[in-house]
Structures are given as C-alpha cells and as structure tokens.
Amino acid sequence: MIALASLTVLSPFIAAVVGMLLGLRLSRLLETRGVPGHRVLRNGPAVIAVVASALATLFALIVAVTLWLDPGPREGTLTLIPTGTLPIAVGLQVDGLAAVVGLMVCCVALAVQVYSIAYLAEDPRYSSYAAFVSLFTSAMLLVVFAGDLLLLYVGWEVMGVCSYFLIGHHWEDRANSRAAVKAFLVTRTGDVGFLFGIFVLGVGAGTFQIDEVLRRVGDLPDTTVLAATLLLLAGVAGKSAQFPLHTWLPDAMAGPTPISALIHAATMVAAGIYVVARLYPAFLAAPTALAVLGVMAAISMLGAALAALAQSDLKRVLAYSTISQLAYMAAGLAVGTRSGAVFHLLTHGAFKALLFLAAGCVIYVTGSNLLRDYGGLREAMPITFWSMTIGFAALVGLPPVSGFFSKDAIIEAALHAESGIPGPVATIVYLTLLVTVAVTAAYATRAWLMTFFGTARTAFTPREAPRLMSWPVGILAVPTAILGFFGLGASELRPHLGSAALSLLLAGAGGYGAYAVWRRDPALDPARVLGPVRTTFERGFHVDDVYDRVVVAPVRALARAVVGVDDRVIDRAVESSAGVTRAFGGLLRRPQNGNPQTYLTGLLAGMAVIVLAVVIFV
C-alpha cells in the first residue's frame, strides 16, 4: 500500500526530471522515425508527462479501491532523518481522505496534461512547462500522502515554487512575471506562519508524525494548540487564497489556462483546506482558531462572489469564484463538517477544473479573455457549451449535479454548528453562506449568458476547440455531474429538504435577476446595473490599493532608503578612504622629486641627527 502510494508520488517526479532532460530529444526521435499520428502527438515532453500522469492515476485508483475494500489508515516510514532533537520521518500515510484527494489530483492532472498538448502546441518551452506540471503533481501528492508535518511542508513549498514558475510561463510579458512574483511573495508571507505553526505543534507534541501529533493534541496546553492552529491558518489563508491573503489568485490568471485549472482552481489552492481537514482534531481543540477561520471564510466568500459579479475577464470571474468556493470549504470546516468540506473540495476540484478548461476552449476559439468579446457560442461549441453548463450548474448548486449535494451538506451543518465556535460567528457564517448562494447564481448566470447566448460581439470564427481540448472537458463533465451521488452513502452528506429548498430559492432569485437584466439588452453587460459600486467590485474592494499604500509603498520607501544609505554612506566611505589615502601618499611623495642631491641631503641630515642623539643621550 505504502509502496503504491510512493509510486504515485514518484512517477510524476521522475517524469519531471526525465521530461526536462530528454523531452526534446524524444520529440526529435519521434519526428525522424516518422511515427504515425497527428503532429501535436509527436511531442516528446508531452508524451512523457501524459504517460507518467496516467501511471500515477492508475496507482492512485488502486490505492483508493484497496482502501475502499479494506478501510483503515495505513502508514509506513521509508527512512528516519535524525536531527539531534526531533527526528524527521520520511513516511507516507494513506487513509480515506488522502486516497480520494490523491485520486482527484491525479485525474485533474491527467486531464490538464492532455489538454495542454493542444492548448500550448506552439509553445517553445513545452518541456519545461510539462516538467513543472509533473513536478507540481508530485508535490501535491506528497502533501496529500505525507505522514510527517515537515515532509508535508516540503511538498507545500515545492507546489508554491511550481506555481510561481507556471504563472510566469510567458514571462516575456512583464505583467505575467509581476503576477508570478506577487503570488510568490503573498503565499510566502503566509508560509512563514505555516512553518512556525508546524514547529509549535511538532515541538509541543514531541514528534512531527501527523497521526502521533493528533493523538497527543488532547494533552497539550490550550495556548500551544491555539498558537499553532492560528499560525497554520496564516499558511492556509495564503495557499487557499482567503482574505486577507487572497490578492494573488486573480492576478495568477496571467498563467496559461490549464495551469489556472490545475493549480489555481482544483488542487493547490485546495491544499490549505486539505491541511485543515488533515489536522482537524487539532483545530477542534482550539475553537477560537475555528472562529477565526469562519470569519475569514465569511468575508472571503461574500466579497469574492461580489467581486466576481463585476469582473470583465472570464478567467478572473472564475478566480474570484474559486476564492468564494474555497471559503465555502473553510466555512464547512469552521462549523464542524469535515466530510462536507472535503466533499465540496472534491466536487469543486472537478467542476472548477472543468470550468477553467472550458474557458480555455472559449479563449482558444475567440482569442480573447474578455466577456464582452464573446456571445453566441452555443451553436458552434456544443461540447464546451454543455460541459460548461453542467459546471456552472454545479457551481451554483443546482440539483442533481455534484455541487448541490456538497453545498447543501455545508449549509445544513452551518445551521447546527457543532464545532464549538461562538454562536454569533456560526450565525454570520450561515447567513453569509445563504447570501453567497444568490450572488454565485447571479455571476454564474451572467458569465454563462454573456459567453454562449446572444450574438457574437467581435469577429472570430465560431468552431469547436480541437478534440484534445474538448474531450478532457467532456470527460470532466461526467464526474461533475454524478460525483454528488457518492455522498448519498454517508448520512451527514445527504441533502436536507429545508436548507436545499432555501438555497434553491435564493439561487433561483439570483440567477433570475441576472437573466432579467441581461434580457433587456443581450448586447450589454448585466453588471451595468451595479452602477457606482461596479468599480469597487471589479477592483476587488480596492484591497490591492490598500496593500499598495500600507505594505508596498513603505517597503519601497525602506528599500530606497537602504539603497541611499548604501550609495551615500557605505560607498562614499569606501571611495573617500581611497581619496584620503591618495592625499597622504601625495604628501609622502613630495620629497621623492627625482633629484639625488635632495635625497643625499636628507640622508646626511638624518645621520647628523642620529649621531647627535647618540652623542647626547648615550
């Protein structure tokens, strides 16, 4: 079992190394041998990456099936690294949670690798792209299967750096590399807290092994657990793009669309939620941390949904929707339904990957990211249209697609919050969840109508995307549609009549509102009715501007001051010391004027002085 899990982690890792070193050589080999098939299929790096992803998916499937037939956590330690105090165990741990999330990661990664072959067919740096996606997959699987907190942190950081490289994949455009740096810095800010949270938890419990830590949580002092969980929440907010560290995610859409689908929607951003779910007993022992998580989630959820309502870029709509949906999971964890949150993580992974890949098809066909350039794509792109319709339905939470079941589980749990968080916080979370359902329906309807209905607003050739792109989208539509029914097996995940009816009513109201505005004039953006607040929503409540004033400007000023000190104090000291030395040298050089008679005079005078001194003093 552990061997299989290690193989799942290792196969994309090996593919990353091999693909980076030998990918282009394989391309040339396939080209010269004249292997039959379409030209884009003779892409060496892609072949290596797809084969490895398929292998990882197979292994993850075997792991999941084995665990389903014979439940119970397994763990194994490959090696123990002694550090002098607490040893670091390089070990994996497989339980139901890890197995299903691992399977979800592998499936999305495989779909994205296949999709990228067509989407980035002309890309000159395909080998590095595919290698980083493979490395990312491996790191994410390491986070999922890690049995040790520090091993988990290794995967966590490798994911972050892969995300940085992939956002900046088209670094020729300055905006992309800036977005990459922003994502890196913001997530790193949270990661500092995460690392210290791990230290506090690990040192407090006397071990870094996750199951051992969770077993000893009950014996730890309350303050230790509270400090550790609050510090961990900083990393979770950074990675899962929750307020106040969410600003990097909308900008991260500068990366290629498949990357947005894999990293910034389905998997990496879910890692924060996954870690909270994994360490859930520790969080349950600190209700204050859960209350903080709940407030954070409520702000992110509603704020991001409102921001999504006014975005003009399809990918940014989806990015804000990702923040909002991740906040749903965080809210689920805050109100005590771990299974509901993980369920929503899985369904969200499926439908958000689907939505992003379908958005990629739309962008591929129309050549634009902006909603106002689309329109009337329903007839020409049937696969994309139907898949995206299912995806949006899941996002809104319409029955019978998956999102309905998972959202309902969270909303129902919020009604009877059992995690020990204060009552007012639970009420706020519950009300925010309901309001967000309506806003979600409105922005999803707006994006759906503006993309597929009405008439085309710019000149492009309406056609279906290449089969390598439309098929992964179509295949992802299947789990998006049916994944919800797997929740029927567990009693706490079954839909509840009251909350389901309430949220459906709200979703219907939101969706109908957007539809009614759109119907008045299908050529215009329904967001126009927002009036003066539209700009505020579109700029994400000016959080970026506030950060510019509060963080970026002082840091820049400090940097300028440091440069000034370097120039004016340190450099000047060094330079003027040279000048002073030269001046003294010049004084000493004056006697050396090339006239030997002067030298001899000096010699004689010196001798006379010495003789006099000897005569007088000796």
């Binding site: 050396q592 006239n595 001899l600 004689l604």
Partner: protein, 133 residues
Amino acid sequence: MHILYPLVVAALLFSIGVYGVLARRNAILVLMSVELMLNSVNLNLVTFDVWLRDRLHGGQVLTLFTIVIAAAEIGLGLAIVLLVFRNRESIDVDRLRALAESDAEPPADSVVERQGPAGQGDQVAVSSRRAPQ
C-alpha cells in the same frame, strides 16, 4: 707635527666634498667632490698610520687600494656622465629627474605594444625586415 693639523685639513676637505656633492649642479664637479671626500679619508688613513706607528703600515696599504678603486670609479662615473650627456645633451644633475614620482599614467601605447602575440609578431616582422639593410 701635531696630529691636529692633518685631521683638520682632512675634515675641511671632506666638508668641501660634501658641499660639492650636495650643492653642485654639474655632474663632473659632483664626481670631483666625491674624489675630494675619498682623498680626505686617505689623508686620515695615512695620518693615523703614522701616529700609531703601525709596523705593517696597514693604513698606507689601504690608501693605495683606495686610490686604485677611486681611479676605477672615476672611470665608470665619467663614462656614465658621457652617456647621459649624449642622451640628454645636459649633465645638469638638477634636471635629471626621470626617477621622480609623477601623477601621469605611463604612456599606454608602449604597454600595448609589448602585450599579446600580435604585437610581438609585428616586432619580429619589423626586425626581420630591417635585418638585410
């Protein structure tokens, strides 16, 4: 004869020599002043040889050596002065200041010419062209 007379004469001679070396501008006069100093030392040697009644007459023997060496030295010195005069058309000691420190960088072209294989090759080529003349 009292020893004081030759000693005073020797001291006077030496002082004149020192003055000449330090103050004269003509290189030949400087050389002559050096000779004066040497000869004052010779006078001292002879004086003390007699005054101490040295049976081996070491002082006088040493004086002979000094005279020989002075002759050789003045030969070399005059030859140098002659060469300096040929090069500079002047034997004014005050103006021979090539050894002074100066702020000016050494002329760059002379350095460049000696560096690198190309420069050497040029020089070789030049010399081989000149050889038959």
